[in-house]
Symmetry: C2
Subunit: 157 residues, 2 copies
DNA sequence: GATGGTTGGTTGCAAATCTAAACCGACCCG
DNA sequence: CGGGTCGGTTTAGATTTGCAACCAACCATC
């Protein structure tokens, strides 16, 4: 892409530049699930090998994954998530939850649960100051730039 | 994409099939911000007009947005998020937060805050049963399919 | 020590996708 | 009537992608 004419003035723009590729989030999903080797990912996803190689290089350049050797002579390595990569967990969870809610037809929804009580997890905005969850209608954008991420401006369908 | 050889067995796969396009999440960001008209979105994003038209049709087909007429004679309409579309809010927020955390260099981070106390928001997994936030290390995948979305299997970088 | 298998790629080409720019119909304004 | 806006569609050319074949390094085996 020619990098939108708006120089990336937005976190979402920057994020999508880094990981917004059609395959990248699926690769990350595999890494989260412990599928870490080139051929395992390739088999699991059915992605072309050259694309997988490219994506892994980009992800390593971005610092989202790192190569970790697991044997020497043939040099072989796995791709591990860095802290930056693991920080994507909420985003993956949110996307997964949305898929569960609206595309349940297929197969097992791969739901996420709290291991202590087996309850299905929600994803909540959390205010560390109030130490409580925040209703979406009380979310505003920060430095007063007038940009509101609103979920209430439209009526229900 | 040729729809991976794995028939979409995963919520993330299904989700990305629906909205995983390079532009689609940016279009949704605009809709969340109240940018709802064809030419406004086109100007804001710099997307080609045919692609924008295609994406909006797909999003309407998916039930993520709906066309809402705002004048009659020339028939003109806006694109509004449906409930299904608004349900993507946590995912957008999560992606935005990640961008804020790791790509702050550029400009104003467009942070999200709690409007009552102006505190920056975190995104938390929430157990409705325990009525409390859940630590990432206590997340397991649901119907015991052996698929764990783990954030702790690798060491820090 | 040749034969085959596994792993992690690279290369080349056809097919799909994207961009840019022109065009269009329905209207409004002066 | 001439010009401008809005919401697109069409076309043509550049870019990206997918697929398949190939390759190099090793191992295991006979």
């Amino acid at each position: 892409m020619a990098e939108s004419h708006q120089p990336d003035d937005c976190s979402i723009q920057r994020t999508l530049d880094a990981i917004g590729d059609r395959w990248t989030l699926l690769i990350l999903r595999d890494l989260f699930r412990g599928v870490r080797r080139f051929s395992m990912i390739q088999t699991d996803l059915g992605i072309a090998r050259n694309l997988l190689a490219d994506r892994l290089i980009s992800l390593a350049d971005e610092g989202v994954v790192k190569k970790v050797p697991y044997q020497d002579r043939p040099p072989r390595h796995e791709y591990h998530l860095t802290a930056k990569g693991r920080a994507l967990s909420p985003a993956l969870v949110a996307l997964m939850r949305w898929g569960d809610d609206y595309y349940t037809d297929g197969g097992a929804p791969t739901e996420l649960v709290h291991d202590e009580c087996q309850t299905r997890l929600e994803l909540q905005s959390w205010c560390t100051s109030c130490n409580s969850p925040v209703d979406p209608t009380h979310i505003r954008s920060a430095p007063g730039a007038g940009r509101v991420l609103s979920v209430t401006e439209t009526e229900d369908v």
